[in-house]
Structures are given as C-alpha cells and as structure tokens.
Amino acid sequence: MDKVSSSAADAVADIGTGASLAVGGFGWCGVPTVLIEAIRDAGATDLEVVSNNCGADGWGLAILLAERRISRVVASFFGDNREFARQYLQGELEVEITPQGTLAERLRAAGAGIPGFFTPTGVGTLVEQGGLVWRFDHEGNAAVVSPAKPVRTFVRAGKAQQFLLEEALPTDFAIVRAALGDRHGNLVFHASAKNFNPLAAMAGRITIAEVERLVEPGEIDPDLVHLPGIFVDRIVELTPEQVAAKQIEKRMVKGMVKR
C-alpha cells in the first residue's frame, strides 16, 4: 500500500467544477495551503467549501475566493477578510453561517456515519428560528435565508431542555495539513494545528493530506497516530520550502500588551 501522490497537482486532478471540499485549519494554522494552490492552478470552479474560516486576504482559501472559484461556504467566522465580505454582501457568495462546535460535529458526524444529531447550541437564536442570510441579491436584500431547525425536548441531568437538529456535512473531497504522515495515510498533527483537520479528513469521500514530513509505515508509533490512515486516500509530501512558508496571523511575544 502506498497512498503517496507524485505531486499536489496529481492529487487534486479529479477535483472538478462544482465539487464540495472540507478544508482543515483554524485561522492561518494547520491550513493545507499547497493543496489549495494546486486546486487554484487546476482550474476547478463553483466550489463549495466547508472550513471554519476562509483565509485572509491573499492567503489560504482567500486565493480561491480572489479568483471567484468558490460559490458557497460553510463557516463559523470570517471577519478580517474583506474580499469575503464584499462577495457575500454583493450576492456573489453564499455563506452558511454555522456555530464552530456545530461545524466540527457536523464534519465528525459525516465521517462517523451519523446523518444528524441534536445539540443545545443555538437554541433560542436565529440558528434555530431561521432567517440568517445565506445569500444576498445584487441589491443587498436577503435572497436565501437559513431554514428553521426542528427542536426536541430531552431530559438531561434531570432537567427538560430543548435541543435542535443539525445535519451531517459530508463532502466530495477533504484537504488537510498534517505534521507527519506515512505511506498508509496515518497522520500526526502538531499543537493547535490539529483543529479541524481530523474532522475534515473524516467528512471527505476522498481525502487528501499534505504532510510536512513523510515516513515509512511502521515509523510512527501506533500509540501516537492521531488519525488512522483509513480516513486518508492520498498523501502529498511537502518540500522544506513549502513547510517554511507557514505564516503567523498575530505574532505576540511575552510582555506584549493584551488586546
């Protein structure tokens, strides 16, 4: 078994126009930037992207946004991204605003074969009642809004409480970044770069991982594997230059004044 692709371009070659993509990363951390660049170069458009954030101007998923290659996004936070805001407000981009924990669980559920689940998150808010604007028309009026979600009462800790139904979020493809991977697709993540990566990997029907270091099967202690290779279909090994290109969004050092 060898899941290693000859190149990033090769690994993403079958991601076609209209595909849905789960993308790992939180902010600028743990983002599969090399695979995102390969998708840009390959030319697919009308993509639906599921990612907590959507990059920042000129970086990460923003390079696909800049070329108008994304038509729909499922995300929890997209402040600090002017082009995203512009496309959303001008009706060019549909945005399904989803609470962060719900987003993580919808990806996990998709990978776990669970089509939906009840959660307390968002009960009593627009997430439950519907009406969050997913798409504006070109005049800035709401064209598509979120539907109301089914609510059920369950007894938890002896107390009747309301929960709302959220549906799993399976995608055609997933692209993720890991610190370490082997030819079987076993992955190890580093520090807070784990974030959405294992969950995105589980949600994808075909999952592609870019790894900062590639090793042979057996070199990773089985006790220390974070994501078993069964969830990973293709591996791309990054060059040292690609690994070194990692950026920091807010560089803070000891003694700096908190904001």
């Binding site: 924990g101 784990k194 560089r251």
Partner: protein, 213 residues
Amino acid sequence: MTGWTREQIAQRAAVDLNDGMYVNLGIGIPTLIPDFLPNDVEVIIHAENGILGVGTYPDEADIDPDLINAGKETVSVKRGASFFDSATSFSMIRGGRMDLAVLGAFQVSAGGDLANWAVPGKLIKGMGGAMDLVAGAARVLVLMEHMNRSGEPKIVVECSLPLTGRNVVDRIITDLAVIDVTDQGLRVVEFAPGVDAHMLRSRTGAPLIIDGR
C-alpha cells in the same frame, strides 16, 4: 474615581476563579484575568481551537506558527497542557465539563439572554464558538461596560440584537457593579467604588434587586 477600569473588572472577575477550574476566556477584558490570579490558584485555560493549558505569550525563540489561541495570537502552553481536535474541544464544552466561560456582550437581558455576535446593518463576521460556549459551559460570566458608546444601557429587559443564547448568563461584571441573573430577576451583588443604587438603576435598562428590593 467612579467605577472600575477594564483591569479592575478583570481583577474582580479573577475572584470568581477557583483552583482547579477549567475556564474559557473570550477576547477583550477576559484575557486580562490570568494576570490577577493568586499564585496558589491554578486554573486551566481552554482555547476552543484545541488547547487546554494556555500559557502566556511565548518568548521570541519559542514562537510556533502551529500554536495559537482562539484569537489567532501566538501563545505558549503550561505544564500539563493538551492538544485536541475541534470536535473534542466542543465536546468538553457541550458536555458540561467547562466550569466557566467568560466573555463580552453587546446586551444582556433580565432573563440572562446574551447578544454578543451580530448587529443588524453591520457586517456579520460569524459567531465562531460563542453559541456553543454559552449553551454548554456550566457557568457563564459576562464582562462588559455598563453602557454602550451611545450611552445606552447594555442590560435590558429584552435584547433587541440577535441572541447568542437564551437564558445562559449567570453573572455580569461591569465597570459599575456585579450583578447576578436569578430566577427572581437581576440581583446586585456588589457596587464598584462611587456607585450607588440610584446611579446604577438610572444606567440599567431592566429592574434591579438591591438589598432584597
């Protein structure tokens, strides 16, 4: 000097944190709290992007692009820290293991409703993890200015802004007072220096219970 500064609000909030607690601190005033914890109070700070045991900002030599807090800032971790994925991170929140979430607010209602994520007419940035945190944390503490920049009360009978959660807030600490959300209504626990009942009531948009009345 009337009322508390931002630092004094954080200092007062720090009194509510006990040794051994697991705590999520939102951006803004809540991030100042660790500076005011006594040495014998060890609190484990959670970052919803996947850290338990968040430390201070790192030394220059220890900066790691893969190690950031939920505000996207580089951080260090304390001894005994752990990393995990986002589903696990929110499992510990929704599962009721997070002892306390401390966050800011645009409005809090008399019934403990919280609005802190969207303002109609302004660009929506997304709610991030706020809705999960307030729905799941065992206790929710709001730190905020008592009035908004237009001089309007932020504590109101009913929130006019989109809610983050309904009936989720347990305590509010502002520059003027410490106020608990109770089944009977908003109960004033403590006044900031120079603040009296009359002044507090005049700056609050909902009834207050002061000295049992």
